[in-house]
Symmetry: C2
Subunit: 336 residues, 2 copies
Amino acid sequence: MIPIANIKDVANKAGLSVTTVSRYLNDHPYISDEKKKKIQKAMEELDYAPSTLATQLRSNRGKTIGVLVSRITNPYFAYLVDAIEKKVKQGGYHLLIMQTYGDKQEEINTLNMLKEKTISGVIMCSVENDFRTIESYTKYGPIVAAAQTDFKSNSLHFIMTNQEQATYDAIKFLIRKGHTRIAYSTGGDFTENSHGAYRNRGYLKALEDAGIQFNKEWVFTDNHTIEDGMAIAIRLSKLVESRRPKAIFAGSDEVAIGIIQKLEELNIHVPKDMAVMGFDNQPFSALAKVPITTVAQPVGALGQQAAELIASMLEETEYEVDQSQLKLKIIERESA
Amino acid sequence: MIPIANIKDVANKAGLSVTTVSRYLNDHPYISDEKKKKIQKAMEELDYAPSTLATQLRSNRGKTIGVLVSRITNPYFAYLVDAIEKKVKQGGYHLLIMQTYGDKQEEINTLNMLKEKTISGVIMCSVENDFRTIESYTKYGPIVAAAQTDFKSNSLHFIMTNQEQATYDAIKFLIRKGHTRIAYSTGGDFTENSHGAYRNRGYLKALEDAGIQFNKEWVFTDNHTIEDGMAIAIRLSKLVESRRPKAIFAGSDEVAIGIIQKLEELNIHVPKDMAVMGFDNQPFSALAKVPITTVAQPVGALGQQAAELIASMLEETEYEVDQSQLKLKIIERESA
DNA sequence: ATGAAAGCGCTAACAG
DNA sequence: CTGTTAGCGCTTTCAT
């Protein structure tokens, strides 16, 4: 691991000053072609690459964007990260991935990296803390959150999809299929200010509008994985039939596939005995044992726009989010 | 976006020198408790956080590890990244994710970030260039590749699983099931030095050992996604039955699920008309329409050990890879 | 068109 | 135990 040449070495070799070399590096005007050649030659011979560390320290601007996800193994986040990465790369940015696993403190830790200049901006694909708290970190750098909210802020920016409406539509879809006994699974805890509060509202509102009584026994909280879905199925199966729902909004395709799998194992058939509705429209959803009826999220557009928005904040240019690209859509297949 | 306090501000506020503050920051001995308190207080009041940029520039050691994957949306890589992230976090490192999408130049670009000090080390979860080339970048920082190879190097380190043996075993498994017409899909181009060369060898060797004639018509190259799998199924279906294989080694569960899905649509049944063998044992594989028989990769151990290995190189300590954790294993389900 | 010199925020001799 | 000082590699006035 040999010491790498620095700008001074290049300057010496080229018989010029560091200033000129720096100018060359930054595409300044006023350098004669002759010297340009010399510099290029020196750089090649020395196998030179400018230290991003020094550049960033001096110019006070980095090229790394932090991306917060709850876990990268959730395909929803993987696809989001993919879309973000493709876009930011165009602007010469890089992505530092941080997983929170639902932990508030981990999220704060990442936000603090803004202060330490480890990253220059943050895209929050999931959010754990309340927006008031998060907003307070915008004084350290730009933050974009992908989340639905009423929270108004000049400094904290959002890329929003209408989760409430989509959930309302999804429940309505089940109701139109004749369902009235509709269970509900969420990644949060079903309280007012938690994860998925908007979806909760959509669920409640759809029931209410249809004159269906809400049944607290039928809400399942804190579910994220295939295993969580399986656990739900087991609980569902243990309910005597008179108290058992006939449909469930799973909150994610991962949970949905777990539910379906276990239900079938337990000889409860989908959708005949139990309709299951997913969320996300992940690649495997169409290919499951019972293809999943779900709501598609516009991940590609979401990631791309989040990337463009954060870049515009970093570069102090304007960017207008295009809501028309951010629509959710029910995909009807066989599970409901 | 307010300017952040620096070490000098803290020193001034605490009425001490920057050295003492720096010592405090780095847990040096020999600071009186009284001053420690003062420093803590000053830091809090100023909302101070040390600039990682300056620290790294000065100490010439960063805390960011680059991770190269071909695409993060492939669950194999997502789980690998997850395992790596969990481990490096313990050492205070962060992960910069780079996707190559199979592009050699992208891989080189990432390796070059070592030179620029953007990252301090690289874990290559996928590899595109030849090892001779990659090895030449080790002079800029530690590189760990997760790949099987005979390439010997003092500077370039490997975390290896025996892909050849696993493929041999998988093909053997099919042969024991009575198959002799076995097709083969790979992510590479089936040449000697490409992607998956070891798997190719395993395939060829298993055929040879069983006295089965190799049929070039039955190898499908450059397949990675579910869509690629579907395309294979279509090509398979177009073969007249006398020239059609009765089994296929898909190379990945993603490709396998695509093949199975499309085959079933085309009324060719798995495994009756065509056995399909996957690779990776991804979470959805057990839950597919026809649960996939596959070979499980030890992603967790792979990620963890890659992380420990790179950390040991960065910290110049010793680390011995534990091969016993790195075994591949056939998981028999229904597709073959 | 080019260069000298100051300094970004921090660490590490060295001196006391 | 604490402070002074010289850089790490780069950008950026300010001269020339």
